[in-house]
Assembly symmetry: C2
Homo-oligomer: 141 residues x 2
């Protein structure tokens, strides 16, 4: 996916985030690579482009993005927090063979969960995480 920098700047501004080079790089990477990368992966990929980039900045930036609702945290496995710039309602599929994480988009207009489980009185929902596990077509079964 090719991403226009001017467009990225507008999207950051729209969420009240001033667009520093580091922030643009992280957001641009997430937009261009819907692979749900960890902070570590982002760091490794961007380091050649921004040699001064520090891991702390990557963490700071991601935390800022999450707090401003520009990207979502994706929790697939313990011990690795992943990030997703696609804010549409969708589920994830983790292949237990190759460890890749795939997006599963519902049919247009439908939510990922047709019907939410019944909630106790007084409970309110703000988010739904759905992650399937199994084998992708490459890894067979």
């Amino acid at each position: 996916m090719k991403v226009d920098e001017a467009e990225l700047i507008l999207q950051l501004r729209a969420k009240g985030i001033s667009p520093s080079p580091q922030r643009l790089a992280v957001y641009g990477f997430l937009k261009a690579n819907p692979i749900h990368p960890t902070a570590d992966v982002i760091m490794k990929e961007l380091k050649p482009l921004l040699p001064t980039l520090s891991l702390t900045t990557v963490y700071n930036t991601l935390k800022l993005f999450v707090s401003k609702d520009l990207v979502h945290e994706v929790i697939i496995e313990d011990g690795e927090l992943r990030f997703d710039a696609d804010l549409c309602d969708h589920a994830h599929f983790k292949c237990t063979g190759c460890d890749k994480v795939f997006d599963l988009f519902p049919q247009k207009g439908k939510p990922v969960m047709e019907k939410l489980p019944e909630l106790p009185q007084g409970f309110t929902v703000t988010g739904v995480h759905v992650c399937l596990r199994g084998k992708c077509s490459e890894c067979g079964n």
Copy 2:
């Protein structure tokens, strides 16, 4: 929930796990306290009862239980692996106010997800994780 020790021993044996005092204590705690505890919580709770218990044993034991499909791992937040001795298909609800994790059971006989998202050709599913986030009745909204 009161749990009979003889019953626990049978359940361990049924999965090919020899019932040491430590294993019985961990499994009994999980059965009696459906609070999806972390290894750390289990350790803190059991230490007074088994003063020699080590954290390594708790981790070993939980990993063994998971590999023998006696308990399930529950992934709610990053950085903390939780465990659940209830093997029925059910969803979880994490209150972002008090951080408690609640069970959400579907109607009898129904799966948690009525309809799975459409999968690409050749993909096979072995497990479904569903976790809602929001506020419980105590924490209001």
